[in-house]
Subunit: 789 residues, 2 copies
């Protein structure tokens, strides 16, 4: 599983380039922006090696084929598909969406149950020891338990599925944008993610189960779609329809939505999260199916909560469809309250983008440590765990005990696992406010800090300590090798600062401090993750208070605007850091000044194949290039003009995978001739071609066979999307992204004998701003100049 | 304003066609589906006349230019745009979004105030008469008041702005899809819509102010974007940036969302409604700005409600951000409740699609009546008003009086304007349940029928009468010449049938009858309008009860699925009926079997212009064709090959509007030569070219000038989107819609001397399934066969 260190070295050193004349000056210019420094150094050509960091390893990444490959086989299959088969497909599509929701709901239930029970018994035991004033024993107990749980999670992650570390959301985003990252959606990743997440969350680390749940949902969707894990697939005939990138994409979108829904119990929020943050393409049919999945999750969660209400789930007691319910608060606000609300947004935006900035730095450092090997990864995780345990246990001793307020109906002090007003080390009738926040699970901490009508519960100093601690923990915990979500840490930080602000406002405002905490959490989320509508709906479903909506909106708008002025969103930063070739929605302004023709000139000459091609040539091309698509060009007769000298015809594009299949199946012809449709249909089925399998290394062709021919016509996608060479890169990129392409052919704007019908071919890597700027440094300069103006 | 009857006749009779051999048999085949019968008969060629019914008149419609026209002028402008200008633009964009929200909010407030007061005083007076047993006087009073109010609304609509009739949502949908309908977003439409809506809603007609509010929001947005009404525009320099179709589209999306938000006080629902139902293209930047607009609306509404709470708004008393609040109900449901919930969805789907079907028939009949002239339109509206008044007043007398239940905390009986348990003709201590539903405003009727914990309030027979009456009223009211929304009539029907079902379920279910009413309303909405997520969120925000969410989802899913099996959504039916060339999201399956080359062959030869063209030729082309774009083809030298005989070059596409501008400005050259960039920049600015103005009829060119030349190069969009002739229509359509095109050039797949670099040009009309099927009837047959399988 460990990757070859030479590979990294290679990619770091191969800086042969087509732009030799570029000095170091430009390089520095380019990379003065922190976002322009991915962890992998790339060579200064277009279409550099498709490498990215996947789970702290450098891996080969591939683009996905979302385009419908309209070759003869496909068209035949399409025409001959019976109504029964279409119904099968539709039925299966909905069944899979149902199963994704069901399984995600069940696994979320399992994780919740496990976390609440493990963390619950742990805290109960420690709190018993603290009550008996056996502080040291309590400390050792807590630290050891957390250490073991972290070790369990990190060991699983490091040894069995490095891709399970982190939230997984950036990789899902990249997948839905068209980038396949290896081992992201496998069975081992899924299992490690589930148990790793249980371990890490129970260990009291400053991370959430939300991000991992999104990844879990996506893994389930992917596995269901392909009929099971890699080596134990169900070879069910129906399922083969789903063995293509398009249907997998839809399923994974459902999975991601289900995950968010399971995490926040927010079905509408889940759909919107996928729509706003994760998905690149969206159709209203998908909205509809995603919604179905999240509805199933919501029903499963509700059923489970009802079951648990009868006390059969161990320590999992309270709960409901809404996690942090503040619906009992009558929200009253006036024009006057706009000022503090705007302030929350403003500070949230600044703090959020500062968090992004710092986290970026921390991740770079962590990457250096993680690259050193498994032991280093483990040690890093365990040190963070130790630090966390020490802080969580020791800091509450700094807080002074406060007397319980008899006017509050809640029990005070509490000593159990849940509940506000923790007694901890205080005498009876007193509570330790810092312990109420630190000596509890993260979920309960949020619930406590959101609690309303308890204006004097938390001392400002306690909140400040809490905020500072969690800002630091949030930074150092995210990058360790355990499944970790970003949502909860940010909510914790945000709620603390929001409540602090609420206290600072004092009598100026009529808004409850608990609501300040909610708004603070929202603002920091918006400041860091830059979501708006989905976040708003998630908070709505989380807090069950519709009257908060207008002020939440204002907070989110301000926080996002402020954050956007400072740096990109945290997911964009991680995507760039990992080197995933994510295509942004909007082209850069300078892309209008460059044509795709110029871009094609900066690339090596396009490799074309003839309609009926020699086997030797195909083998040669496959061996010596890494391209995944080859234009097929015929010489021939032009209708309406007749036989013309030098006339050529663009037949389409053939995929590498299909060429490999032809070679493996040895579908060769003795003479140079075109085949009949039935000949190819005997050898290949459309479904077979849609699968992403087969490596060139497995091909063995004899010398005799080398002299034979292959008719590529029936395998060629005759309807590739094309652009004329005079097209601007900006518009080409819009086409590439909107239609979801892997290859885009460039056709000449000239019409004459002797002109090749294909000028070039563009892929995702060619259209990335960073790659173009390295190949055309003068554009970078003009960009800088524009900014300077 | 009245249209020329000869024009209709012309389009009805010109059935000259390129497919002469097609018999009547095929025609019937094609049109056996009710959706294949638009009101306008079209000729059997591709690109038939762009006519549609706009506000009951046949009008010329045009496509919009959403594509960025990258000609030399644009590129120069783009390069030279200073940061200050960019900031101006961004600032203005957000200011306009703010203003759209603000004005929509204020106008919604005005409409609410006016309706509540007018209808309130009317009902108060009548209820006073009824109390005094002066039944006949009461009847005359009510009928006369409603008659006058309807007359007012219908007169405004008929005489000043026929486009203000109906909801306007289908036209907005078409606009955002790229179809411009004349007079849809003008100042007169806006004013008539506002006052017409007040009149029609106050008149007690079975229609809502929701659809009109969406249209009002869009009108405001459009007017703001262009700086005021047609003849009184502000010629402010900043605003000129917005005088193009792209920015207008974004603004209108904001306007539509604001309208929904104002109608239901549902900010998130408003955004989602635009996203799911109205908009064709969606960018996350737009999500963000739309959200801002709806947030402003929500704040305005809230401020106004707070102001009115102090009693300064006349009869507008109750209210809040949530219209039909059922948040006080503790929702408990179990697995057992799935059955009735599924049943609601099922019946809702059937009733909804039945409603669509019947409404389609009624609208066809109404169209015949409306075509006869203004008087007929007025008479139709007034007859509906009379019928409505008679039913609303007389039917409650059929109901028996029920004794008030003392266990209910609400006042009973009530006599005022609002309130449940209307006394009407009953003795003290008794109430008339049918009067509680009929003798009130529509808003209050919904509120009463949604009321919870009042299980015995409504007699099943009363509900049945109510349901039947409103099903009929909903059918006959929608098509009359007043601003009318569909939401409220459907909610009224749905809630009645839902509550009936709840009573029928009896003790089987634990769900409150009020919730049954809510679910019934949702199911009928989904069954008729086929929205899912947006509807769910609107209901969530409307009812303020999150725990209803999972069951609402199930109801919506089932109702929509059932409805989709039967017929298209009501908006699609109206779009098709009006003949608006709406491009669907998904291509038809048979489109894969047709290439764009074949499509181009079925059209007349493409008309191309030369790079430097004679004035006479341009005038000739503009006079004799109706095309809006012409490919510009140069003869010339091919780089890398040299001067080639018969070599040609595709330079781009020039728009009709720009040619007209050239002719009007007389930018002619004495000799055939290419111009310098500064020459054209002296004459034209980019902003000027972006405007949609100028008619060919206004052009006057002398005979001398006819012999001069025009250099089209600087005005040509050099980066048109193109497809190769072998591209399938299905994929071409995806490109056309996804990128938002008006013209798509077809380039040859052959490369040879003498081949034209443009094979054809496709527009929206060419890609519509209905048009293609008329030109290629064999495809229709294969389609039928496929269905038959």
């Amino acid at each position: 599983m460990e990757e070859d260190p030479s590979q990294v070295a290679e990619t770091t050193t191969t800086t042969t380039s087509s732009v030799e004349g570029v000095g170091e000056g430009e390089e520095r210019d380019l990379e003065s922006n922190p976002l322009n420094q991915p962890l992998l150094k790339r060579s200064r050509t277009l279409s550099s090696n498709p490498l990215a960091i996947v789970g702290a390893k450098v891996s080969h990444i591939e683009s996905l084929d979302y385009e419908i490959n309209e070759n003869d086989l496909f068209k035949h299959d399409w025409r001959s598909r019976s109504s029964a088969q279409v119904l099968q497909y539709i039925f299966l599509k909905w069944s899979l969406a149902f199963l994704v929701g069901l399984l995600t709901g069940l696994i979320a239930t399992l994780i919740n149950l496990a976390v609440e029970n493990i963390a619950g018994y742990k805290l109960l035991a420690v709190s018993g020891l603290v009550e008996k004033k056996r502080y040291l024993t309590g400390f050792i107990y807590l630290t050891t338990a957390n250490f073991v749980l972290t070790l369990f999670a990190a060991f699983l992650c490091v040894c069995f599925a490095p891709t399970a570390a982190g939230p997984g959301i950036p990789e899902i985003k990249a997948y839905l944008n068209g980038v396949d990252t290896p081992n992201m959606f496998g069975a081992s990743t899924l299992i490690v993610k589930i148990f790793g997440s249980i371990g890490a969350v129970s260990a009291g680390l400053d991370l959430g189960k939300e991000g991992p749940l999104v990844h879990i949902g996506s893994c389930i969707a992917s596995l269901l779609g392909q009929g099971g894990p890699e080596n134990y697939r169900i070879k069910w005939r129906w399922l083969r329809y789903f063995n293509n990138d398009r249907d997998r994409r839809d399923l994974i979108t459902c999975g991601a939505s289900s995950g968010v829904c399971a995490a926040f119990r927010a079905p509408v929020g889940g759909v919107l999260f996928s729509l706003e943050e994760v998905a690149t393409w969206w159709r209203s049919a998908l909205l509809w199916r995603t919604f179905f999945s999240t509805a199933v999750v919501a029903v499963v969660l509700r059923a489970f909560i009802e079951y648990c209400n009868s006390g059969k789930c161990g320590l999992f007691g309270r709960g409901g469809l809404i996690m942090f319910d503040v619906s009992d608060v009558t929200v009253t606000y006036h024009a006057m309250d706009i000022a503090p609300v705007a302030l929350i947004g403003l500070i949230g935006g600044v703090l959020g983008s500062l968090y992004n900035h710092l986290l970026h730095k921390v991740l770079r450092v962590y990457n250096l440590i993680n690259q050193k090997g498994k032991i280093h990864k483990l040690l890093l995780s365990l040190s963070v765990s130790l630090f966390t345990s020490i802080c969580l246990y020791c800091l509450p001793f700094l807080a002074t005990c406060s007397p319980c307020d008899s006017s509050i109906t809640e029990t005070c002090p509490t000593n159990g696992r849940t509940g506000n007003f923790k007694q901890f080390n205080c005498p009876d009738g007193y509570y330790n406010d810092l312990a109420s926040l630190l000596f509890t699970t993260n979920d309960d901490a949020v619930r406590n800090i959101f609690s309303t009508n308890t204006a004097t519960e938390f001392h400002p100093l306690s909140l400040l300590i809490f905020f500072g601690l969690y800002y630091i923990l949030g930074l150092i915990t995210f990058g360790i090798a355990v499944p970790s979500g970003l949502f909860l840490p940010i909510i914790l930080m945000g709620s603390a600062y929001g409540r602090l602000l609420g206290i600072a406002m004092g009598s100026y405002t009529k808004i409850d401090q608990g609501l300040y905490a909610v708004l603070g959490a929202a603002s920091l989320m918006a400041g860091s993750m830059r979501m708006t509508v989905s976040l708003c709906v998630i908070f709505l479903e989380l807090t069950n208070n519709l009257l908060l909506l207008p002020i939440t909106m204002i907070v989110l708008l301000i926080a996002k605007s402020v954050g956007d002025c400072i740096n990109p969103s945290i997911y964009d930063i991680i995507l760039h850091l990992k080197g995933l070739p994510f295509l942004d929605a909007n082209p850069e302004p300078w892309m209008r000044n460059l044509t795709v023709g110029e871009l094609a000139d900066a690339k090596p000459q396009v490799v074309t194949l003839r309609g009926v091609e020699k086997v030797a040539r195909i083998v040669d091309v496959l061996r010596n290039t890494t391209h995944n698509g080859f234009p097929v060009v015929d010489e021939g007769v032009v209708p309406r003009v007749g036989l013309a000298i030098g006339a050529t015809e663009l037949h389409g594009i053939v995929l590498r995978a299909h060429l490999v299949k032809v070679l493996k199946k040895k579908w060769f012809l003795q003479e140079r001739r075109r085949t009949e449709e039935w000949e190819v249909r005997e050898k290949f089925t459309w479904i077979e071609l849609a699968e992403r399998e087969g490596k060139f290394e497995e091909v063995a062709v004899t010398n005799d066979e080398m002299e034979m021919y292959v008719d590529l016509h029936p395998l060629t996608n005759t309807t590739p999307y094309t652009v004329v060479e005079s097209m601007s890169v900006a518009k080409a990129m819009v086409l590439f992204r909107q239609v979801g392409l892997r290859h885009m052919l460039i056709v000449p704007k000239y019409q004459a004998a002797g002109v090749s019908p294909v000028v070039g071919i563009l892929t995702r890597q060619d259209l990335r701003a960073y790659n173009i700027l390295t190949a055309f440094p003068h554009l970078a300069k003009s960009k800088e100049r524009e900014k300077g103006n």
